[in-house]
Structure formats: C-alpha cells, structure tokens
C-alpha cells in the first residue's frame, strides 16, 4: 500500500496549526425556520475536523455557508483571519474552498477532464484547449495518486471514482479548505481506505478538512478535532483524543444511551389476539408461515437481508396478494374479519402500514403536514363527503409526537427524516387504527428522533394496540420488541423473547436456522 505524497502547495507551510476558518456569530434563517443560531467555530490548518450531530442539527447548513451555497443571515466568516463574503459556489471555489457534496455534482455527459475544468476551461485561440485540459488532469491525478482516464465519461465511473474526481477538482485549484459531506455513504471498505489516505495527505499538506458525518467509527478514525452541533447550535469542539464514543453520543443527543429504548411491555401469553396469520404463503415457492400478534405487543420479524421478512409483512398489509393462507384481524370489540389482499381493505379494517420507503410509498411530499395526516382522518369517509380536518386533534397529535416543524402547513418534504416518519405514523394514529405494520421504523432517522419513535410505538402498543415490524438493525429488535421471530429462507426458524435475545442468538438462528435456546446449553 503506497502512501500518497504530501500535497503541500505552499512550500513554506508556515500556517500549519494556525487558524484557517473562523465562523463568528453565524446565524442562518430560512423563512421562519432558524437553521443556525449564533454559531462560532474555528478550524485550523493541518487538521481533519469532524462536524457532527443529528440529522437537522445544522451541520450541513454550516458547511453550505462556507461552500457559498447559502449566505449567512447574520455573523461573519473569516478565512485566514480576513472576513470574506462567499456570494456563490464559484466565489467559494475561488477563495480556495472545495466541497465534496454527498450528492456528487459531476456532470455525467462530460469527461473527467471536462468536469475537472468546467467553469475555468483552459483556452487556446478562444477555444477550449482539450489537450492542455487532459495534460493538467493527468498531473493532478498523479499528485493524488489516483488512476483515472481523463477521457472517461463521468457517468461511467463508480461513486468512489467520482468522489476522487471531486477531490481532484479541489486539488487542481490549490484549495486549502476541503469539505466532505458524508463521503463514505456509498463506499465499500477498500474505497474508504483509499479516501482515508487522501484525507490524511490533505492534512499533512497543511490543509483544513471539514468532515461532516454521523458515523462514529469514521469520525474517530479520521478526525483530530470534533465539533458537535445540536438544534442549530454549536454544542462543543474538542480534540478527538479527549472524547469517547459514549461522551460524543451524549453530546449529540443530550441524553445517555441507556434511556434510548423505552421500557418493554408486559405481554401475557393469554393477551387477546390482534392478528392471526395462518398458513400464509406470501409469494409462489415460499413456505407457509403461521404466527400470531397479540394486543400490547411489539413483534419483530428479523433475519438476514432478503430472507422473506418483507414479503410476509407486505402480504399481511395487503400490498402483495399471497398465494394462499389466511390473515384474520381481531378487533378490540371481539369481532374477527378475514383480510382481503388489498391495501384499502386492510386499512379500512384498522391496520396501518408504514413502508420502508416513506418518501415514495408513504408520504405526499409536496403536501402540507395537515393534509398528509388529514387523509388518515378521512379513512372511512365517503369519497363525496367534505374533506374537513379536525384541527384541535391534529395540533394535539403533532404536539404529542413532538413533530418539529414551522406549523401544520409546512410541506412534508421540508422536514427531516425523523419528523417525516412521525407524520406518517401520525396519519395512522389519526385514522384510529389499532394495529401498525412498520417496515424499518427508523431508517434515515437521526439518533434523537429514533428514541422518540420507539417511545411512540411503545405507547401505541401499551394503549391496546399491536405492532408488527421489520428492521435491518438487530439492536432495534433487541431493544424494542417483546418477541422476535427469525426468518430464514421464508421460514420462521426461531422465536425468542426480546428481553433475552442477543445479537448472537439472532444471528445464530438467522445463519443456521437453529431454534432459540435461552442460555445456550442450560435449557437442554
């Protein structure tokens, strides 16, 4: 493994360790929303500086100010000790600030070299000098030791290669400040290592690297300084060596991890049934599954990815028509109905389905919160009835779920992932369902809101409801579920109480299909 040479543009390197970027009392408002409140923060040369916090904490907004995408509503940004106005992305680039956005900004129909020099093309006789462009691109790639064909179209590159091009863009303009926004989201192990070597060589070259992420592993692996943001404010900046994972997490969420999951329910085996699934064959060729969901219970369907959990929960929800089998809903008043395989019929019975892809399958993104929830209130009304939203109930619901928004009129697409998920669950609560089928309850949801969603689901179950959920996070099953069913190749291979399940017992059953044995051996 070769180590890239040090990228020292300024041989003197005198500023190593000196102040490079300073935010002084920076505030950013979007309409009535305050995204950043009076943030002051200093970044030093030769440092990899993590900016972390929950989703919506303001870390991306802060970096967007530095990248010239937005302008501060108040406060000043200093670069090398001098106040600067970064009027646009171009101004920021010219000031030596290079940004690698999470959603890469390369143009797929341009070549690597063209992307590298877009907006500042070398000219010859008034025309673009493509050979100079290629030559300079090669020399930049040599400096950062990446092997890329300057004539390849960017649309043909992998995400990792595109990221290298974005970094090369910064190196090519002799940028001194690099911003990385969640750079590892789409990378695999070796690609992350390559990125690490690049970041370290930028650091050795006396550059300042801002690293936005909420992946703790990488923060501690790459960064020497950590700044934590919360609700638009700067909470703390400390050397990485003085923080542990636990102290960092508690800074991020403002509470410690042991209060992360709510108390577990006390479901008696004789609790009334909520859903009875008998001999359900969700898709052709799958084995039949039989299980029951009881009132007051949160039941988890777990296993390795793609073992059939999704098909089972979707067949119960009426999203896919099962090959055979029966799903019976037992209402609170004792009546039982066999469920027809149709989403509308299932919803009318009193079962809410929260899909994993809430943006395309669950929410109406351009519509207001009140409309997204209001549609639940009208679940049973005739299509000709007047659409009226019960506002006091809506307000009460939003308050009880702690939805952070400017008001019920705010568009759902402007909300953070956690608040969107609350709105989606809120729709079913407003509809008065007594059973929730939830896929990936906290996908794309930040740490603080996760805990609130767990509490919300637990309260729903305690109130006589019942929850059937799938999740790719084992800890979520262990922390939240009363009972866990392990699915392997479409079959229910093990059942275990959440209170005694461990990642090991679940993985053992998921991998081998072995039934659950509490305190392995002791039960024998």
């Amino acid at each position: 493994m070769t180590d890239p040479g040090t990228l020292d543009h300024h041989a003197s390197g005198s500023s190593a360790g000196g102040e490079m970027v300073r935010f002084e009392g920076v505030t950013k408002r979007f309409g009535a929303n305050v995204a950043l409140k009076d943030v002051s923060l200093v970044g030093h040369a030769g440092s990899v500086h993590a900016v972390t916090g929950e989703n919506g904490a303001g870390k991306s907004t802060l970096m967007n100010l530095l990248a010239g995408v937005h302008q501060p509503s108040a406060g000043t940004i200093y670069l090398h000790g001098k106040p600067v106005v970064l009027a646009g992305p171009r101004a920021a680039q010219q000031a030596g600030i290079s940004t690698v956005y999470q959603e890469l900004t390369l143009l797929p129909n341009l070549t690597v070299a063209e992307n590298l020099y877009l907006g500042r093309e070398p000219r010859r006789l008034g025309m673009v000098d493509r050979s100079a462009m290629r030559r300079e691109a090669r020399s930049v790639f040599a400096r950062i030791e990446v092997d890329l064909d300057p004539d390849a179209h960017c649309g043909d590159l992998t995400i990792a290669q595109q990221q290298m091009v974005e970094i090369a863009k910064g190196v090519a303009v002799d940028a001194r400040v690099f911003i990385f926004d969640e750079p590892t989201a789409a990378l695999n192990g070796p690609e992350i290592e390559k990125l690490e070597r690049l970041i370290m060589s930028l650091k050795r070259g006396g550059n300042l690297v801002f690293y936005i992420s909420h992946r703790l592993d990488e923060i501690f692996r790459f960064c020497d300084t950590i700044s934590v943001m919360k609700d638009g404010s700067h909470v703390a900046t400390q050397p990485a060596s003085e923080l542990t994972r636990d102290t960092l997490v508690s800074l991020m969420v403002g509470r410690s991890l042991d209060r992360f999951f709510p108390h577990r329910g006390t479901v008696r085996p004789e609790a009334p049934l909520a859903i009875d699934v008998r001999g359900l064959v969700p898709v052709a060729g799958a084995p039949a599954v039989t299980f029951a969901l009881r009132r007051g219970e949160i039941l988890g369907l777990t296993g390795l990815e793609g073992q059939g959990q999704r098909e089972i929960i979707r067949a119960v929800a009426g999203q896919i028509a099962p090959v055979s089998g029966e799903v019976v809903h037992h209402a609170k008043d004792g009546t039982s109905t066999g469920l027809a395989p149709s989403p509308v019929a299932v919803a009318r019975t009193g079962i809410g389905f929260v899909p994993e892809d809430r943006k395309s399958e669950g929410l109406f993104l351009p519509l207001a919160i009140e409309r997204n929830i209001g549609i639940g209130m009208m679940r049973r009304s005739s299509i000709w009835s007047r659409a009226r939203i019960d506002r006091p109930r809506l307000t009460g619901l939003l308050e009880s779920m702690n939805v952070r928004a400017t008001g019920p009129q705010q568009e759902v697409q402007a909300l953070s992932g956690g608040n969107q998920q609350k709105v989606l669950i809120g729709r079913w609560l407003a509809a008065g369902v007594d059973i929730l089928l939830v896929e990936e309850p906290t996908r794309g949801v930040d740490v603080g809101a996760k805990s609130e969603i767990y509490t919300l689901l637990r309260a729903f179950a305690d109130d006589g409801g019942a929850v059937l959920m799938t999740s790719s996070e084992l800890s979520e099953h262990i922390g939240l579920c009363d009972r866990i069913l392990v699915v392997r190749e479409g079959r229910l291979v093990a059942e275990m109480p959440g209170a005694v399940a461990t990642e090991e017992t679940i993985m053992t059953s998921a991998l081998t299909g072995a039934p659950f044995r509490a305190h392995a051996g002791a039960a024998a």
Partner: protein, 310 residues
C-alpha cells in the same frame, strides 16, 4: 473510439439507428424510385433540406440546454414577410433584429420566469404568426435581386445551398464542440443545479440559446425566400415540428445534455429522404404529414431515457 462514440453516457446521442436509418432509406429508394438516384433529384433534396438543416441546428442548441423552440416556423415566415414588405436595404438587419427580440423574449420567459419552453414558445409562435399575417396577409411580393442571388448565384460553380449548409454546420460545430460556451451548455443541460455548483452561469447561456435558435430561423427564412423568389406568410409553418422530428431522429435527447451536429445532419437527411421518397412514390402530401408525426413519435420512443440528466 467507436466504443466511446456509442458509450452509454456519450453526449453525441448517435446510435446505430441514427446511422442505419438514412443509409437504408437511401438504398431502398435507389431501387424503388427510378428517378431518385439522379443528379437532378439529389440536388433537389439538397436544396430542400438546407433550410431545415439550418433551423434544426438552431433547435439543437436549444435542445441541449434542455428546452425546445416551437417558434422557429413563425420566425421563418416573419422573415419572408419582412423581405417582401420593406425597403431591400434594411430587410436583413430588420429580420435579424426581430430574431434577436423573439429569442430574448423566449429565453427570458424560460430562464427567468420559469415558463415551460413548450408553452413559452407556443405562445410567441402564435403571436409572431399573427404579426406576420398583419404585415403580409397573402403570398406574393417581389424579392430584391441582391437577396435572390443568395440562393441562386453560383460560386465556384457550386450550389449556393452547399455554402449555407457548410457555414451553418461549421458555426454550430465550433460553438458546441470547441467553445467553452458549448461545454458549459452540455453541463447545464444535463443538470442545471450541478452545473451552477461548478460555477457555470445558467440564465445568460439559456437566453443566448434561444437567440441563436431564432437567428437560425432568420437565416433559413432568408435562404428560403431567396430560393422561391417570393414572400409567403406561412412558409415556415411546418418547420417547428419538422426540426424537432429531425433532431430527435438524430439522437438528440429532448431532456437536454445530449446531442451533436453530426447526429442532426443525419436526422435532417433522414427526414429529407423520407419526404423526397414519398414525393417520388406519389404519396399524398397529407399522408406525408401524418408520416412525419409518426416519425417523431418513433424517434422519441427509441431514445434512451433516464440515462442522463433526468
């Protein structure tokens, strides 16, 4: 090189069909229509497609930016009306000025006020067509000899249409494939947001595209009026749809970011051969029109979608 030409992300848009279609038409017509493969007829095809080629190259520029211009036909008709109505000394500058105004209005509507290009240019097309009929309600009028010479005089014994085509192709190719403007145009056509994050301005170049497109219609109008030697207030009526059909046949992606001069030449030749062939085979002109509509639908459905900029 060939691999790169047909690469999934190549921005030329030229595919196998783009090349095979005009070739196979040429071969089929050589066998089925006896008068097709004659110098006389091929010269005619060349003359017929010159105006369409000029307009289509303008349409290409707008299409790469992600737009479309339906007002080219009306602009062409207006040019024809201007030439037979006003003092010959001022008709060319007047037509060019009119083209600049129309293009600027289209561009401002699309780039600044966010009007959909179809709606914006359909509105201005209707407005300009009305204006044209006010200026010159019926065909007729005399074209000044100096202007007639632009389409009839021979230079080095060659057809003047050749020079018009060569000029338009050279200008458009330099602009799109050699200038920084062209490179940035491909960038913003593929993704305006990302282009602007890379420091590419968006509004100015889009307005410029519409101005260039209107000017291409003015040029085509001057050539066509000179060739038929009389004015006609509806001479351009078919050019809006025809130019869009031609560029779609040439592999230009109407969502922006993909398209090339060679592709447009192939598309124009395809449409020209189709029209000429049906003419020679005695197909009704109304059926020819219907066929153009089908060709457009066919060309657009053949396009690879969601590969770039969508």
């Amino acid at each position: 090189m060939i691999g790169r030409l047909f690469s999934r992300t190549s921005r030329s848009g030229i595919g196998i069909i783009t090349i095979a279609l005009p070739l196979s038409m040429f071969v089929i017509l050589s066998f089925t229509a006896s008068s097709f493969f004659t110098a006389q007829n091929l010269g005619n095809v060349g003359n017929q497609i010159t105006a369409l080629l000029i307009v289509s190259l303008g349409q290409l520029i707008v299409a790469i930016s992600g737009g479309v211009d339906l007002s080219v036909g009306s602009m062409l008709s207006l040019t024809s009306a201007i030439i037979v109505t006003f003092d010959p000394a001022i008709v060319v500058p007047l037509a060019i000025a009119a083209g600049c105004v129309l293009g600027t209005v289209n561009g401002i509507g699309v780039a600044i006020f966010g009007v959909h290009p179809l709606v914006m240019t359909l509105a201005t097309a209707t407005f300009v067509q009305g204006l044209t009929l006010l200026v010159s309600p019926v065909p007729g009028g005399v074209v000044a000899p100096a202007i007639e010479a632009l389409a009839h005089g021979r230079l080095f014994g060659l057809q003047p249409s050749l020079f018009w085509c060569a000029g338009a192709i050279l200008l458009c190719w330099l602009l799109l494939s050699r200038s920084a403007f062209g490179l940035r145009l491909y960038a913003l056509g593929a993704n305006p947001r990302n282009a602007s994050l890379n420091g590419v301005k968006v509004v100015g170049p889009i307005i410029t595209c519409y101005v260039l497109c209107s000017l291409s219609a003015v040029a085509a109008g001057i050539f066509l009026t000179a060739r038929v030697s009389t004015g006609d207030p509806t001479i351009g009526a078919a050019f809006g749809l025809d130019s869009i059909t031609a560029i779609a046949l040439g592999g230009v992606q109407l969502s922006g970011g993909v398209g090339s001069v060679p592709g447009v030449i192939l598309g124009v030749v395809t449409l020209g051969l189709a029209t000429n062939g049906m003419n020679l085979l005695g197909v009704s002109p109304f059926l020819r029109m219907a066929a153009t509509g089908l060709l457009l639908l066919g060309a657009v459905s053949l396009q690879r979608r969601k590969t770039i900029g969508v």
